[in-house]
């Protein structure tokens, strides 16, 4: 029973970070039809920026929202400079399908090199602002610490904010309309290109939060070649694909499924199998239900 509880708690806690990553990929996919493989690099950069801000400001609680803002600005900048140029130049031929993928890969390499230039290749430590020792109930220690509880709550608050933006505001309506039918949205007077940049900006903020929370909730160490962030990218992608790559609730659902399955594998079988299971899950979903579990009409509306 206790083990089962651990699976649930660890799974949900991991899922909260995967879902942020998945959401940022979904937002980018919806606004420009690009899977942003540089998302891990952008999250890593934000984590480094967070580390720098903590060092300068000395307060994690100020550094986190600041880093998210900077992440949003950087992401919008990338859309504005890179993606718009890309659409102008390579919109036809065999390359059109792969050009965005290759461009985001190039961006990933560029970000890593820049990080190496600024912060060097040695690991840096981003200290957790809260205790990572699990809460105690009598004799037993459960798998929830103040830190992971904060991560979970913070992600839930972010989710609520994002869904409020999408459901209750005009901007959200414009975001949904331009994702669903860009031409019609344009005819209806929405400035689709601006909305695309906004989509990237929100994605950048979510990715920045994912990067920082993943770091402080995990080992706390950062390096330009971090495998942890590559895995975060893959898990975010898998979560987004399970949800159908179109839908925000789908991304959260996908992250929950992935987080719980991986936690179960880790605790009941072996930590070494986590990646293989995640990969098989991806293959099964892609083969059995390539449109994802919430990828139909219901997803488009959200």
């Amino acid at each position: 029973m206790n083990q089962f509880l651990d699976v649930f708690l660890i799974g949900v806690s991991a899922a909260s970070i995967y879902s942020l990553m998945a959401i940022s990929m979904v937002l980018v996919w919806r606004s420009t039809r690009v899977v942003n493989f540089a998302q891990a690099g952008m999250a890593l950069l934000s984590a480094y920026v967070g580390y720098e801000l903590v060092a300068r400001v000395g307060n994690f609680w100020i550094a986190l929202p600041l880093a998210m803002l900077l992440g949003a600005a950087f992401s919008a900048f990338i859309e504005f400079v890179l993606m718009r140029t890309l659409q102008k130049h390579s919109s036809q031929g065999a390359i059109a399908a792969i050009a965005p993928i290759i461009a985001t890969l190039g961006l990933l390499g560029l970000i890593r090199a820049v990080i190496g230039f600024i912060w060097g290749h040695a690991d840096v430590q981003l200290e957790a602002p809260l205790s990572k020792v699990g809460f105690k109930f009598g004799e037993t220690t459960i798998a929830v610490s103040p830190m992971s509880l904060f991560v979970l709550l913070f992600v839930i608050v972010l989710m609520i904010i994002v869904s409020l933006i999408f459901q209750k505001t005009n901007i959200g309506l414009a975001l949904r309309a331009s994702a669903y039918a860009p031409e019609i949205a344009q005819l209806a007077g929405i400035r689709v290109s601006g909305i695309r940049t906004l989509g990237w900006a929100i994605a950048g903020a979510a990715g920045a939060a994912a990067g920082i929370l993943q770091t402080v909730n995990g080992t706390g160490s950062l390096s330009p070649e971090s495998l942890e962030f590559s895995l975060l990218l893959v898990f975010g992608f898998i979560a987004a694909v399970i949800g159908g790559l179109e839908s925000l609730p789908g991304a959260v659902l996908g992250a929950l499924i992935l987080g719980l399955v991986l936690a179960a594998v880790q605790i009941y079988i072996s930590g070494a199998l986590v990646f293989i299971v995640a990969f098989l899950l991806l293959l099964v979903v892609l083969i059995v239900r390539p449109q994802g579990f919430l990828g139909s009409k219901a997803g488009r509306r959200a």
Binding site: V34, A99, G106, A113, V114, F275
Partner: protein
């Protein structure tokens, strides 16, 4: 000349390389061998992406399969060197066929993400099996060059000869395949899969075949790469290798095999150029380690933005030789 007498051209090119190899120092010979490895690796991506329209960001994983297979048969059965290459090709092709079966159902970003996941995950999977030597990997030794080549014939020159001989044969063969019925079917599927299907081409089967051949070539490149550094380990086939191959393919231009040397030479030359620049700036270590990545990535982005079809295609388009693209 290439069009009319391809075999003659390839032989001539091989002869030139042979002459060059006698005049270079050890480091250049080693780099030359690496160029040959990249030529095969990039050609396998060009076949996959440019000719059958599929994307793979995980070719490093297929190179790893080839490298490990070659090392295993060498260590356990003391197989002759040509046989290790055959085994590498076959085992990577089997892996590629399995992957291709899944890949044929996927499009663009899904396939890219799946292969990327494989490239990230495979090195850590290799750590799980003791037979693969874990983090240290396996020693892959093909032995000294034959004594008949003379006493001062170095190991690296031997690698150079093997790599280029294999590369020339592989590219020649690939060229023939691309000009055959299969090559035409792939191009048809790439341009318009619905039209291709209506013309009686089995789209799925063609995609799987392209993936299989591409994987076989990647396995060959993996075995050669392992040979030149005498080692297979997870660190030999990092994610960066997969990215390098994709980069090389884009720099070469994914729609033609002709530019394959451009990408391969660039990949080998960039660390050299970066080193030269770093030395100018008093040889700071930060510059030396980060500049190659910066240059490659910047070059990749600029190529995709401004010369998306590669330098050769761009030149052709400028000369207005549109009949070439029509013939394809």
């Amino acid at each position: 000349m290439l069009k009319k007498h391809p075999l003659l051209t390839f032989t001539f090119f091989g002869f030139v390389l042979f002459l060059i190899s006698n005049r270079l120092d050890e480091l250049r010979v080693y780099q030359g061998a690496t160029v040959a490895v990249y030529v095969i690796g990039i050609a396998s991506i060009i076949l996959l992406t440019g000719y059958s329209g599929q994307v793979s960001l995980g070719h490093g994983a297929l190179l790893a399969i080839g490298g490990y297979a070659a090392a295993l048969v060498r260590i356990h059965y003391n197989a002759p060197i040509w046989l290790t290459f055959v085994v590498a090709v076959l085992s990577a092709a089997v892996g590629g066929a399995l992957l291709g079966l899944a890949a044929a159902r996927l499009s663009g970003p899904y396939l890219a993400g799946t292969t990327l996941a494989l490239a990230i995950g495979l090195p850590s999977i290799a750590n799980q099996f003791p037979i693969l030597g874990g983090e240290q990997g396996l020693f892959f030794d093909i032995g000294l060059p034959p004594a008949s080549l003379g006493a001062d014939f170095t190991q690296y020159k031997w690698f150079f000869w093997i790599c280029w001989l294999v590369a020339l044969i592989a590219i020649y063969w690939l060229r023939q395949v691309m000009n055959s019925r299969y090559g035409r079917s792939w191009r048809a599927v790439r341009s318009n899969d619905v039209a291709a299907e209506l013309a009686g081409i089995h789209v799925g089967r063609n995609k799987v075949l392209a993936f299989t051949i591409s994987a076989g070539l990647a396995g060959l490149a993996g075995a050669l790469l392992a040979m030149t550094i005498s080692l297979v380990s997870p660190g030999v086939f990092p994610l960066a290798l997969s990215f390098s191959l994709a980069t090389g393919a884009v720099l070469s231009g994914v729609t033609t095999l002709g530019g394959v040397m451009i990408g391969a030479v660039t990949l080998v030359a960039i660390p050299e150029i970066a080193l030269a620049i770093a030395n100018r700036f008093s040889g700071s270590e930060t510059i030396t380690t980060n500049l190659p990545g910066l240059l490659v990535s910047a070059l990749l982005i600029l190529t995709v933005l401004f010369v998306p079809n590669g330098p050769l295609e761009q030149l052709r388009a400028k000369r207005g030789k549109n009949e070439h693209s029509l013939k394809k």
